[in-house]
Symmetry: D2
Subunit: 125 residues, 4 copies
């Protein structure tokens, strides 16, 4: 179910939305890693796969720090926004101008997550 | 958004639902850990907190193996069902007969996740 | 430093050795993932990369359950032994009869970790 | 075995030492979490347990970004140094002026990890 329907304690609406985006971005990046390895060719370029793995792990990390209401969540969200943005651009580059639907969907999700992580990091600054 | 609306490659409806349950269960267990530490008293019993941490990590692990379409996902879902079941029972025990809403919600989510992980592990047997 | 020199509470010698093997196996599998993507060709086969990612995550998971002295550590070590064994065999297959030193080192580490996880899982059975 | 004896590809001596410190710090923080919950009293204060969980996860995250030779490892090491430093100070506060050996060992390890993560983050700046 969408995270807004989970009963989470002491998590504001804004933070919930950012957690949801991070979990979604983690999921799609991990799944896209498998898709890209399967496709091969430029999809399987080392730098691209590594960026997808980076983004998947960074988003999980951010989500967990928010779920624990950690004091450090905004610091990690700041770095996470950079990772997501880099991953979005790289997914775009491999998306065949949007014709490659999974790559396009991953790029869009990474960009959405970058935006909410950036906002989270600035809210705390 | 619910995971069904993400564009995931080569993940069946059943597996998507189990991934969603695992991510939800991970989220609520991690959040409940913070809630229980805050509450103190019997909520903060070592065995209870440890079980919540176990369940959070096991569910993340299961979700990731399914997102990668790993051959081992069913094996991990089998163990995960046991962890979730144990955590559900322990959350019930701390829920003041359901009056403690966060504990009740966590117990329910763990039970739902246990059921879908069990099904996943049997589908592959 | 080797984990035996860390001051860990309530962790027997046997468990410490298994934790060390799991952390080593996690490290080498993650590092080998990057190596294999860089090499390309058969090293970057989807099934091989996926198995390395599976093994890295499973070993981390096992190590964490042991470090928390979780009741479920033996169950996870049992599955982890299977993952490590599969990864060892796959790394051997890509090791050019041992001439590819990083692949050979990864295969050996996976086999060592499989053995200690198997032992851990049986000690509790 | 110490990570320096693992055959890791394209990881310099400095980075290997930092990975080792991060893995050690992850291990001791996770183990100390269980120790503190067991002890109860001030050891189990929510903020303290949360910081130990933060530090364990942050160190794992940093280690993994270094093991993948990710471009973002220095950014994460920078935040990780802050988390480790905060955790070191909090562990000191609970160490009974050093008489509580596990707390003292955890504080020392966190401080050592903070130093090498800080250095890693500056090397890249």
């Amino acid at each position: 179910m969408p995270i807004q329907q989970l009963t989470l304690s002491q998590i504001s609406q804004d933070v919930q939305q950012c957690i949801q985006n991070c979990l979604d971005c983690h999921s799609i990046c991990l799944n896209t890693t498998a898709y890209c390895l399967q496709k091969g060719g430029h999809h399987a370029e080392p730098a691209h796969i590594k960026l997808l793995m980076d983004c998947a792990q960074s988003c999980q990390n951010s989500a967990d720090f928010m779920l624990r209401s950690s004091d450090f969540h905004a610091r990690f969200c700041g770095v996470c926004a950079e990772v997501c943005e880099a991953c979005a651009q790289d997914c775009d580059r491999h998306s065949d101008d949007g014709a490659d639907t999974p790559m396009k969907a991953c790029a869009d999700m990474c960009r959405r997550c970058a935006a909410s992580c950036r906002q989270m990091s600035m809210a705390m600054a």
